[in-house]
Symmetry: C2
């Protein structure tokens, strides 16, 4: 894997709720190594637990340090997150651009990603410890992300970069062409029988229906439903025909 | 643009803090149209304002609705976010996979993205209103994202998909080759003068230095610093030489 070699370093975080949200975001994305550089204040643990929920173990197993340099002493690459302008920030790239480099290094050794306090970000001397500067795309109108949101975007990019997630698979496979054709035939018969179209316009009308039903995928199960609807439509039209015949005889 | 046509729909959200975080995430990513499907409870507005900070205008300008169907009545595509298994969820794709489709449609008309309540997600009849099902990659160990984190990942993908963000530019351009060569020449002279290497090994040693200094980019400004260091190194070595000459004369 490699994600176990990624260390999230929170430098002097202010709010317990944010630290809890960081834990949850990390666990969502398969990253578990949390280091906290101590502040002069205590984190409010009630908020922290409320936001961490099932990811509180990440906080309980954190390491604590006095400085960023100590927190990343065993890391090869050290990425520092930074706002969009200022000293030492002119060789920044987005987290998406850095992700292949960070994951490549994480396949061999520890990689640190450092986030500054909510109000001020990392200090210049802390950015100097970093080998890469990471920026998160955001608008000029409001570029400051919440701390836990910034951690989420970085962890999400790293997890996505591992390419291990598979969306829920189709339970039913795409219908084969022969089944699709059987379905269109059933509708042709039904729509002729119920008077929606006449024989001379039928091919043209059926092209329209084909277009509509070919825009997305059509699974086996979808096609069965459509055939059932066509058959019932046909049955209903034939029943009506019979009924009329009976009425005429009366 | 197109992002102004993206509507984030929160269906019966429970916690004011999460709604506030949603507003901030939206504004960070240039998305401003918020619709809220009312719950039976009141959102706690203190928490909401504390987490929204400078993005509170998004909440103040929200629309409110009784049902998801009403909230997205004017939308072409409607994407519903959903956990990873269950009914109607077998044609899901990740938000990154859906982003081009959603942005393409948003260039022509309104697009809704719906998020269910924190505890239960969207109901089956609400997912039925959706034209696409969106999933966010996460680990099996802890797949449930916080509501605002889920909104952030979706908004981040859409904003990133617009390809409008530029990381801070290099203030100094990559140094031209001629300047780089002048720098290596200065170091060659300095390292011979201070005795770090002898003439017969100099070319080999300089290859090592070239390798080290060619791993990243070297800007104009970087190269000037390196030339300055080399010149000072040379000066110091020559001063020492002079000093020794003077001592010998004594």
């Amino acid at each position: 894997m490699g994600l176990e070699n990624i260390r999230i370093v929170l430098v002097r975080p202010l709010y317990g709720g944010n630290v809890g949200s960081v834990c949850r975001a990390m666990m969502n994305m398969g990253i578990t190594d949390l280091a906290v550089v101590r502040g002069k204040w205590e984190l409010f643990e009630d908020d922290l637990r409320k936001m961490a929920l099932g990811a509180i173990s990440i906080y309980e197993e954190r390491s604590e340090w006095d400085t960023l340099a100590e927190a990343v002493a065993d890391c090869g690459l050290v990425a520092g997150t930074s706002a969009r302008t200022g000293f030492y920030r002119d060789h920044a790239r987005t987290i998406r651009d850095w992700t292949p480099t960070l994951l490549d290094e994480a396949s061999r050794g520890k990689v640190g990603i450092a986030f500054g306090p909510e109000d001020k970000g990392l200090k210049t001397e802390e950015l100097a410890v970093c080998t890469q500067i990471v920026q998160i795309p955001s608008t000029d109108e409001y570029s400051a992300l919440n701390l836990a949101q910034a951690v989420m975007v970085c962890c999400y990019e790293l997890y996505t970069g591992m390419d291990v997630f598979e969306p829920s698979e189709e339970k039913s496979p795409e219908a084969p062409s022969s089944m699709r054709e059987r379905m269109f035939l059933a509708w042709r018969e039904a729509l002729l029988a119920n008077g929606f179209m006449k024989e001379d316009k039928a091919d043209h009308m059926m092209l329209g229906l084909r277009r509509i039903l070919s825009r997305g995928t059509l699974t086996d199960a979808d096609t069965r439903i459509l055939i059932g609807m066509a058959k019932q439509t046909l049955w209903c039209a034939e029943e009506l025909e019979k009924q009329r015949g009976a009425d005429d005889e009366m």
